[in-house]
């Protein structure tokens, strides 16, 4: 009997080991699938058009940079850039987009993301605190109104927002983009939930000392809400850095105001003849700031997601 049990548990552990190896293999495979496209994107953003589709696909750059056009102004062939798994990088794609409007779009993206994020931190936390702690007629109604707005698909708002901003003279302006996005329901609910988790006694003590509700909110409660504010900052910044649809509708009529995602779709041009060096270089520049922020503040991204379970 004892023998049998130990045998079966031995079988169990062998099975477990096999499952473990399979699981680990699966993780490795999936990690490769997730990361390889980025590696190839970076590598190919340094290639001239002819070399992009060369096989085998070289992904290790050498130190010899080349220009995509030779002295006679002709495009160089793939062979002139590629050697096995090595290739001579060209900065032409980056040079072209950086002399174009890309610096302006980068500024727009950063500016809009920062302003919108600051406004959301103010408005969302103010509304969140009001809904969490202050009693007044309509508190519940306002809460359900805000909750309800989360149900409205963005696409439904596309056209009427376009019309409304046009009537207000805010179409194709920074202000138009900023005001529409300056509050978000998700952020309010996040802040409300957080404020509710702070013990009431802290506020009551401050009230006995004669502090007004506003002072309590600004001086005591808000500083305690750093984790929620951090999560909100990250979601809001990321969401706006990457925002395409709102930019398309609100800023689409003025190329000087484009953000990076919208600008990228213009770089692509139309039709099947895609200039990959431009598009991929633009993709790298768009992703780089978010990637750096992510690698430094990774903990907050992950905490934020698990905290709320939602991506901006």
């Amino acid at each position: 009997m004892t023998n049998q049990t130990s045998q079966s548990s031995e079988g169990m552990s062998t099975l477990r080991r096999i499952l473990g190896i399979l699981g680990f293999g699966f993780l490795i495979f999936f990690a490769i699938v997730q990361i390889t496209p980025f590696v190839l994107t970076i590598a190919n953003s340094f290639k001239c058009d002819a070399a992009v589709e060369n096989r085998p696909m070289p992904f290790i750059p050498t130190f010899n940079t080349v220009s995509c056009r030779d002295d006679a102004g002709e495009f160089i062939s793939a062979d002139e850039q590629v050697n096995g798994i090595f290739f001579n990088p060209s900065l032409d794609g980056y040079r072209r987009i950086l002399t174009d409007q890309l610096p302006r779009w980068t500024f727009n993206t950063a500016f809009l993301s920062i302003v919108v994020t600051i406004l959301r931190l103010i408005f969302d936390s103010a509304a969140g605190y009001s809904l969490a702690r202050l009693n007044y007629v309509g508190n519940r109604a306002i809460f359900f109104l805000i909750l309800g707005t989360m149900m409205i698909p963005g696409v439904v708002l596309l056209i009427p927002r376009f019309l409304l901003l046009k009537e207000m003279g805010l179409l194709n302006t920074y202000q138009g983009y900023i005001i529409v996005l300056s509050v978000d329901a998700f952020g309010i609910l996040l802040m409300k939930q957080f404020f509710e988790s702070i013990p009431k006694e802290i506020e009551e003590a401050a009230m006995v000392d004669g502090a007004s509700r506003f002072t309590i909110f600004a001086r005591i409660v808000l500083p305690m809400a750093t984790p929620a504010l951090t999560a909100l900052t990250i979601f809001s910044f990321q969401g706006n850095w990457n925002n395409f649809m709102d930019a398309l509708i609100i800023l689409g009529g003025n190329a000087d105001l484009y953000n990076l995602p919208l600008g990228l779709t213009i770089l692509r041009g139309s039709g099947q003849d895609i200039q990959y060096d431009l598009v991929l270089a633009g993709s790298v520049i768009t992703t780089l700031p978010m990637a750096v922020i992510f690698l430094f503040f990774q903990r907050y991204f992950v905490e934020g997601v698990s905290y709320s379970g939602l991506k901006g």
Partner: protein, 360 residues
């Protein structure tokens, strides 16, 4: 506020409590006012406007302040696109594409996220944070960037074809992003089943689309976009699952182990039920997101694949702003219908997945 002092007599206390209440109300309304105003002006009013214009014939060109800018046409726009008018095939083609997209993406990304989270959560696993970073990474960047990356990866001379060429004998490059063939059609085509061999029922039309086309499955081009969605979203959802898994106390598993439960039994009997609220949340977010798919279609669609990749959300945009005769009223009607579809899908899911347990 300064007179709110605990040592005052009872009567004064009552007034000060009254004052406090009033002050609270004023502060509360002031703090919530900016949010409410912006929501009303830029969310509620637009929603009502969309509904209003969907019952008019306003194409968007005539200035609204002119008295004859538009007329009310009742349900004409809805009829033309949704019931049996001349645009009905365009609408239902977009519905078909969107439904294939949702049905393909949501279960796969949910299941994959769960499996990955369970493996990453294993005690023996090293380099947990490496895997978490790698899986999450695609979701930090813009959907536009991700779409470009896929455009490049799946281009005819691109890496995907290169890899397949290396491992599949006699491989011929697939034009992933321009291929309109439905994957079910391709699958059954391997067995010699084509529209000509299945009988006349395939030629019958529902909403001006042949039954044969209804059952085509997502086209190769749309499948590529679906792969993109799974690739981008799975990592985020995995992190959500991982957080939920870490919230399950290990004592629960230890107790089950003493009772002799196997790993699979524990997964089915403990992990899955305890994760039900998370699963509900992950599916809801997935449904709402996929039903509205837009950015990826905007980048990856081209004239050749418009028929098999246009989503309902993209149809709204295209009807309002693209082509030779843009029409804002008709686009609004389609948007309202999409709103209703998403609403019904969420309700149905609440019924079937058991949203009552959800706490999010």
């Amino acid at each position: 506020m300064a007179e709110a002092n605990a040592s005052r007599p009872t009567k004064a206390n009552a007034t000060s409590r009254q004052d406090q209440k009033q002050a609270d109300a004023i502060t509360g309304l002031t703090l919530v006012a900016p949010a409410v105003i912006i929501f009303v002006v830029f969310l509620i009013v637009p929603l009502i406007m969309a509904l209003y214009f969907s019952f008019t014939n306003w194409s968007g060109t005539r200035p609204l302040d002119q008295p004859d800018a538009y007329e009310f046409v009742g349900f004409d726009n809805y009829e033309r696109w949704v019931v049996d008018g001349r645009r009905v095939d365009d609408f239902y083609r977009a519905v078909r594409n969107t439904v294939y997209y949702v049905i393909g993406v949501v279960p796969i990304q949910t299941a994959l996220a769960l499996v990955l989270a369970v493996i990453v959560n294993q005690k023996w696993l090293r380099a947990k944070s490496f895997f978490r970073t790698a899986f999450y990474f695609p979701s930090i960047t813009s959907s536009i960037v991700v779409s470009f990356i896929f455009l490049f990866m799946f281009s005819t001379g691109g890496p995907i074809n290169a890899v397949l060429d290396a491992i599949v004998p006699n491989y011929e490059n697939i034009a992933w992003t321009t291929n309109n063939d439905g994957i079910f059609h391709l699958l059954i085509g391997n067995f010699g089943i084509t529209e000509d061999t299945v009988g006349l029922w395939a030629e019958a039309e529902i909403f001006d689309i042949e039954v044969w086309d209804w059952i085509a499955g997502p086209s190769v081009a749309l499948t590529t976009i679906m792969a993109l969605a799974v690739w981008t979203t799975t990592g985020t959802l995995m992190v959500v699952y991982l957080a939920a898994l870490q919230g399950i106390p290990s004592s629960v598993y230890e107790a089950a182990e003493i009772d002799g439960a196997s790993g699979f039994e524990m997964f089915r009997g403990i992990t899955l039920p305890l994760l039900a609220p998370t699963t509900f949340f992950v599916i809801t977010v997935g449904l709402i997101g996929t039903f509205q798919v837009f950015d990826q279609i905007y980048v990856l669609q081209n004239d050749q694949t418009a028929r098999t990749t246009t989503s309902v959300a993209y149809l709204v945009y295209a009807t309002a702003f693209e082509g030779t005769s843009p029409n804002l009223a008709e686009a609004s009607a389609i948007a309202i219908v999409l709103f209703i579809i998403i609403f019904i899908a969420t309700i149905l899911q609440r019924t079937f997945v058991g949203g009552d347990q959800a706490n999010t």
